[in-house]
Symmetry: D2
Subunit: 317 residues, 4 copies
């Protein structure tokens, strides 16, 4: 392995299999292959839970966890997440999908749903600039098996973190971005990302994402913003926090949408600061919150715990 | 109304109807009468959720919220709480109970379950000594309609809080306790409590509860202990915390069982302290945590969110 | 005592002496009379701490606590708070002030300073509309002796809380405010407040304070805003929080200045919420944070722990 | 670099100079060389602050921060920490110590004091077993310059973390410990540690430290215990927490003394857990608290913010 960062974007990326522990999450591999998750979002209506419970029972699937939420008792949205145990799930998941499609989606007009195996880690790419705290925390946790993800690629507009990333056995690709090369850089990024990943994480990637990129990337993007949104939108939030004299600084993980810092919020947290703390100290203390908030958002997303409704989220955590 | 505390325990207590707001909780009265809660605890087994969902659908009841938990995917305990909407529930609740008994409890060997109306506030008695912070917080919240309870009686071994309690329209009964009159005092307390209340709250009642009292009172008892259990069991926890030099002090709300401070924990919280804080300051800061923790435990219990398993709790909050 | 609220603003208010415990704070009266506080704000310069320490030593005053802060090692602002013990302080405080004025303020160009006795509670007036949670918490803490204040007056634009306030032995004056009577109402308020109080607290007073009022009232005003500023400035912050889908709601206590919700922040805190919480629930959970944040801000202000620099605060807590 | 761990303890360890950033803390090197810290602990007495302030002023040292604490206004212990700015401090620090010794320690009977330069990072050795989360967090923060330390050695009784540690440029020495080789292993450890380090950190080192080791190592030892002490002393705290059904799990950083888990507490924190969390999840969530608590304790110790009094600490943080 070479530690020299490459500025040539390869057209194909080899995704090495993750370490055994990293891919398997908290439980042993044998158990996880029997665990599935069913999530859905539809208009609320009587009988939906009964129908889905019956659907699972009919497939000899035992419900382990169930979370549901209704935005309004009469006429609201309905959100459901069920974790179920079914022996040898992987052999039956497509058959279950077909039955679900035939029996449930028509009857209850469900459009947003999925059935997934807990043993299939989400394929994740991370985009980052120079700050390493969020990136390293994700790499550490993935390696320890704390996140059900396979981090298959890190893209950065700076070369600084190449050796660090590659020491985890994760490919690092350097794609510089300047005002003039923005379109070209995004094209390179898309070439690497499209079809290869289930999730892109912006772990302090200090570049604007264009709508064109958003439309083409083909998977959700989670961003960490270094303030408690909607306070201090945009650049330099820690300086703004110092100027305003707030007593807590925070961080926000959200899905990226067309409007900067306006996407659906997944998770937020704060830490106490005081008049003694200069901007550098706010940044340091905030960095701990950022990595903590981002890892929770990624964890919850990858465990299929997050459902979107307009510009907000339902998080079954 | 007289402010003079009475040491004569009346043999009957008149329970004035609560203020409209106090009895109805967050929603309007009309809506609450249509909301019900079904909770149960049984051995885990396939089909239980489907059966209960079908049971509710058969009664035209729409599930609003559902929480469930399984202690182990294969062969564990199963816990369920469902909130459902059924028009004119109160007219049908007994019929639902009968059907549930006939169709579910036999088939799934359920022993611990209940179906309740959200519009029926729990009848609560509070026992207290001299500290007013936990008691007042409960009385305030009940008056504001934040707790689905009807506080019908306060019993104290001291006369100090009589006027305060009565200003809320709640009867206050003074039952002094000395070493020689302990048995007699408990007999008086039981005379007032048995059959009249769904819950007894010890809001800093500085007396040992005997096993005899526990067996006879006929309803759960929630106690607030002024430490983060199991640290600092027994008397004087703030002094012990000061001596040990801890950096956080806490409080614990738990069900009372035979063993002092060993009952199932419902809720806990902590607050940061420092070397500057003397014992009096720890007590003051801890008092805020005590009232906060106790009100959450009472709220969750009265919303049927707490299920017990051996010496622990499942809290669907 | 009558519970009928009066809409006639009296031109003089009788300030009943507070209960013994309320005026004395945590320690016994004898000790507090020997405790003093010296605070100052000036340009940073070598020798200032030595000079003040010598000043106190020269007066046989023993420093108990000392906090200082410098905004920049070279050429910044300097903030100091010292608590000292001097026997029979009250007999010497004016002499100390004179010596300080002669020896320190000239030499170090100090303009903002005070020497106060810890045994003199701040005289506080509270303005409130209909929400009682912040008001009751302040009244209750003052009665317990947890706040070094003498709450001498409550002014409200609604009559609802009259009986509640008066049960604490505190005068309640009802001054209705309409668009047409705004100026007249402020004149009545000022008649009651000017010269009589050291601090005015807006404990959820839902009216705009005019600049004219601010200039004339003659003492600081602390407001509680029901959001984590600068997020959700202005009216309806809980509805805005629900719409934005934030995962924490907060409260902010700040000094009132000309710009709405833009004054120097004294204290802030947050509480976790979820998609399950409707706006009414956000309000309830937020209310607990509001009363907690406001009481800390009032406590710290009244213990001379807060110094202002431009639009921020130094809080020695 | 070889990744093969060595079981042969070298008799001398080469301490490579740390990276520039690691040694210098948050500010630039030029500034830090002018910053000093004076800490002391003595019996409380009038005039001590004045004398020390005069001492600093006499040396043209400008006080930047000052914290002091008195355990009792009359006759208690007195604790002081001052950060001061003196140009070219390093050239004068020994002269200042001599003057302090001559003028202050005699007059005020001070026995416990130090004057240090903020530009001299503490020399730290870490002992660890197999868990990497606390160790990695310390190594990473040291590399980022967030901790004013020079981590010069990691000793482990397992070989697992050798490559990880060495990738930070820090020597890793494997010293296996069995019941039979305990004494021999401690002798090897002491050979490496004595005289070379200012602090030893036990970052989840799962071995008992003997009194003999404690006496001989010649510097303080900080341990991280994976519970909120004094709850769950000893082995298996997360299993004990699960069995007891607590609603928060925590971690405690403390100085190591003769009695296991009984030393002076420096820092503690907790995180919320629920009935859904199995022991493995408690361990994962607790691990985040452990690394956070330990890094704060190490930071505060190394910034001379922690003073000991009997079995408690004064922390000026």
């Amino acid at each position: 392995m070479t530690a020299t960062p490459s500025t040539l974007a390869p057209t194909t990326v080899d995704f090495a299999p993750p370490r055994a522990a990293g891919a398997q999450g908290k439980s042993g591999g044998g158990e996880l292959t029997d665990l599935g998750r069913l999530i859905l979002h539809c208009a609320d209506q009587p009988g939906i839970v009964a129908a889905i419970s019956r659907f699972l029972a009919d497939h000899d699937a035992n419900i382990i966890e169930s979370d549901q939420s209704t935005s309004d008792p009469e006429g609201g949205h309905f959100f459901l997440r069920m974790v179920f145990h079914k022996r040898d799930l992987q052999a039956y998941i497509e058959q279950m999908e077909a039955t679900f499609e035939a029996s449930i989606t028509d009857q209850f007009d469900v459009t947003d749903w999925s059935i997934t195996s807990a043993s299939a880690p989400k394929r994740v790419a991370v985009m980052v600039s120079k700050y390493d705290h969020c990136l390293l925390d994700l790499l550490w946790r993935a390696r320890r098996g704390e996140l059900p993800v396979q981090i298959g690629l890190v893209i950065s507009n700076h070369a600084d973190l190449a050796a660090e990333v590659r020491s985890f056995g994760v490919p690092f690709v350097h794609i510089p971005v300047t005002r003039d090369t923005k379109a070209e850089a995004e094209a390179k990024q898309l070439e690497l990302l499209r079809g290869n990943f289930d999730l892109v994480v912006l772990a302090r990637y200090m570049q604007i994402i264009t709508n064109d990129f958003l439309e083409k990337v083909g998977c959700p993007i989670i961003n960490i913003h270094h303030s408690f949104l909607p306070a201090f939108i945009g650049a330099g939030p820690y300086q703004k926090a110092k100027d305003r004299g707030v007593k807590l600084v925070g961080a926000t993980a959200h899905y990226v949408t067309e409007d900067l810092d306006e996407g659906p919020i997944i998770e937020q947290d704060v830490v106490r600061v005081s008049h003694r703390d200069d901007v550098a100290t706010l940044e340091r203390r905030g960095a701990d919150v950022e990595r903590s908030v981002l890892h929770r958002a990624v964890l919850w997303h990858c465990e299929d715990r997050v459902l979107r409704q307009d510009n907000t989220t339902v998080v079954f955590a």
